[in-house]
């Protein structure tokens, strides 16, 4: 009997925790599909009588939502491609080779994670201005690489550490060059790790606001989704259902990635924690 009641308490506790913590996400969604009149009525309605599903197609037509999403995607793909290219080699080198300065590079990457974006954004602004990159998506691609490279390099080093080195030694005995062993043996084995790392980088880039705000504000055609959304938030009046619908568009890809690939993403995040 005691066991029974303690289980009920447990289920209630879990349900209550989930409800409280997830409510803001639910509320965003409900706000998006509520008619504007509902949002100005008290007490609030927790589910609209007539869900306004057309709000999503409306903001896709009336606002440059698709352009923003495309820009965000391009920026994320570009910065992830750039970061992954250098990180795969660097992570492999740090995992497998005795490199002088490897330790200090590691320490440096650690400090790079501590760099405030608001500090780095100032000189980057100066540099991009003098080479004419302000207003171009390339500025954001490069800037996001500053966020991504420190993470991906260490995540990949961690993954490579878990792959037994006998694997590439066997390949090299069979006549593979060291690079051949990396490409033909190690990378295929590390595919889940590579995918998780790339996704993590994608999330970092997709969520950025500081760099986009600084480099792209005056170039509406290159606005990323996060930047675009903040322009919908008025100082006095905001169309809460429209901005919420836009927010759903932006949050959805990341939430889907998270729900389906949680194991991989979290695995990368906590790789250091389980040591």
């Amino acid at each position: 009997m005691k066991l029974r009641s303690s289980r009920i308490v447990l289920y209630l506790g879990v349900a209550a925790t989930c409800a409280v913590l997830l409510f803001p996400i639910y509320w965003l969604f409900v706000t998006a599909i509520s008619p504007p009149a509902d949002l100005r009525s008290l007490p609030p309605r927790f589910w609209p009588d007539v869900p306004q599903w057309q709000v999503f197609s409306r903001i896709a037509e009336e606002r440059p939502m698709l352009l923003w999403l495309t820009n965000s995607t391009l920026a994320a793909l570009g910065s992830v491609a750039l970061s992954m290219t250098v990180s795969v080699f660097a992570g492999y080198a740090l995992s497998r080779f005795r490199v002088r300065g490897g330790q200090s590079l590691g320490l440096f990457i650690l400090t790079a994670k501590m760099l405030p974006a608001t500090l780095l954004v100032i000189p980057l602004f100066g540099i991009f201005r003098s080479v004419g990159l302000i207003g171009s998506l390339w500025s954001v691609v490069l800037a996001h690489a500053t966020l991504i490279v420190p993470f991906t390099t260490w995540m990949l080093k961690g993954y490579f550490d878990t792959i037994p080195r006998e694997l590439e030694q066997a390949a090299m005995v069979d006549g593979c060059s060291p690079l051949g062993a990396l490409f033909r043996v190690i990378l295929p084995v590390a595919t889940p790790g590579l995918a998780a790392t790339a996704l993590y980088g994608f999330v970092l880039s997709w969520s950025d606001y500081a760099y986009a705000r600084t480099f792209l504000t005056n170039a509406q055609q290159s606005w990323t989704a996060n930047l675009g959304i903040t322009t919908m938030k008025g100082e006095y009046v905001t169309d809460w259902n429209e901005i919420s619908a836009a927010a759903v568009f932006v949050a959805l890809p990341i939430l889907v990635i998270y729900l389906f690939l949680e194991r991989y993403l979290v695995g990368g995040l906590t790789a250091g924690a389980e040591k």
């Binding site: 447990l10 289920y11 879990v14 925790t17 989930c18 913590l21 803001p24 996400i25 100005r40 007490p43 609030p44 290219t85 250098v86 740090l94 995992s95 497998r96 080779f97 005795r98 490897g102 590079l105 320490l107 440096f108 405030p116 608001t118 500090l119 780095l120 100032i122 000189p123 602004f125 100066g126 540099i127 201005r129 003098s130 800037a143 690489a145 490279v149 390099t153 550490d161 030694q169 090299m172 060291p178 997709w206 969520s207 950025d208 606001y209 500081a210 705000r213 996060n226 959304i229 905001t238 809460w240 919420s244 927010a247 949050a251 990341i254 939430l255 998270y258 906590t270 924690a273 389980e274």
Partner: protein
């Protein structure tokens, strides 16, 4: 971190014909470290170009009287004026105080909430994996989106929170959350806690799972009650993970820009202006990039000092 062992010997047993094809045989053990450097080169180059060089520039800028940073203009004369102005300005000390308050409140709450959630869903029950997925969901919500959500919940006219407060009889009038300094600070803190706690619970869950069941069974045999098992097994084993996690959360609060900037812009009356926001405002609001760089450099130094103090010699664990 025992990753740097010497490459295996059988490499030398490769066909001599192939070796001659490359001028430099990178597979030979004596040359193998060259390959290491070669593989590191692109990353080092990229980091040098987009992190080290800019960092050097901002250090340089902080010693000049510069409005808008331009690289094509000659360097201004060296001056300490930015730092002098900084340490005598009330705004800077105010920003330090706001940052400190936010650090303590957000990190503390994230820690307690994250650990409690992790312990809760670490129990065995049906639907556990779904519950685990859900409690960490806010981690995947972009910061700007979190701001949209909470700006609406705390809206002064039709926000949910005002309705709740009035219904519960806590206030008789609607609160204008974003024009009252304390209220605005509370909204910023709540948004950051909601966005930040899942990271703690993800890390704590990973740590909890690495504790062997045997520890608990042995303790049970010895007659330890649940609380004793928690304080004598769970907490000590989790401590290394939690220590690193706390530092990472602190660093996040220290440097966060999006949440505060989009939610309040640092206002009202600079009540939510952290060092990070002050750096940005000085640089891109007032176009005093020299002064802003000085604020940023001080922030960075504080970040490094704080994390060294917290993690100390175990800094390696943060990788």
């Amino acid at each position: 971190m025992s990753t740097q062992s010497i490459p295996a010997q059988p490499l030398a047993a490769r066909a001599p014909g192939r070796r001659r094809r490359f001028g430099l045989d990178l597979a030979r053990p004596s040359r193998r470290h060259w390959l290491g450097y070669l593989l590191l080169a692109p990353a080092v180059l990229l980091i040098a170009l987009i992190i080290v060089y800019p960092l050097f520039i901002s250090l340089d800028l902080s010693f000049q009287n510069v409005g808008i940073a331009r690289l094509d203009q000659p360097r201004r004369p060296f001056t300490l004026a930015n730092y002098e102005r900084l340490f005598t300005s009330a705004e800077f000390w105010m920003a330090c105080w706001v940052t400190f308050k936010l650090l303590v409140i957000v990190t503390g709450a994230c820690f307690v909430l994250g650990l409690a959630t992790a312990l809760l869903v670490n129990n065995r029950f049906r639907g556990r994996s779904i519950a685990r997925l859900f409690v960490a969901l806010p981690w995947a919500v972009p910061e700007v989106i979190a701001v949209v959500i909470f700006a609406w919940i705390f809206d002064s006219s039709f926000g949910l929170m005002n309705w709740l407060f009035i219904t519960l009889g806590l206030t008789s009038q609607t609160i204008n959350w974003f024009s009252d300094p304390d209220a605005a600070f509370a909204v910023v803190a709540i948004t950051m806690i909601w966005k930040g706690y899942p990271f703690v619970s993800i890390m704590a869950l990973a740590g909890l799972q690495s504790i062997p069941e045997d520890f608990y069974n042995a303790a049970k045999v010895d007659g330890a009650n649940a609380w004793q098992r928690f304080t004598n097994i769970t907490i000590p084993t989790l401590m290394p993970v939690l220590g690193v996690t706390i530092v990472l959360v602190m660093l996040w609060v220290f440097r966060d820009f999006s949440i505060i900037y989009v939610l309040t812009g640092g206002g009202p009356l600079k009540a939510t202006q952290t060092l990070s926001i002050m750096t940005y405002e000085q640089a891109f609001g007032f176009f005093k990039m020299g002064y802003a760089s000085a604020v940023g450099i001080v922030t960075l130094v504080l970040c490094v000092l704080a994390s060294l103090l917290m993690v100390g010699r175990r800094a390696e664990a943060m990788y």
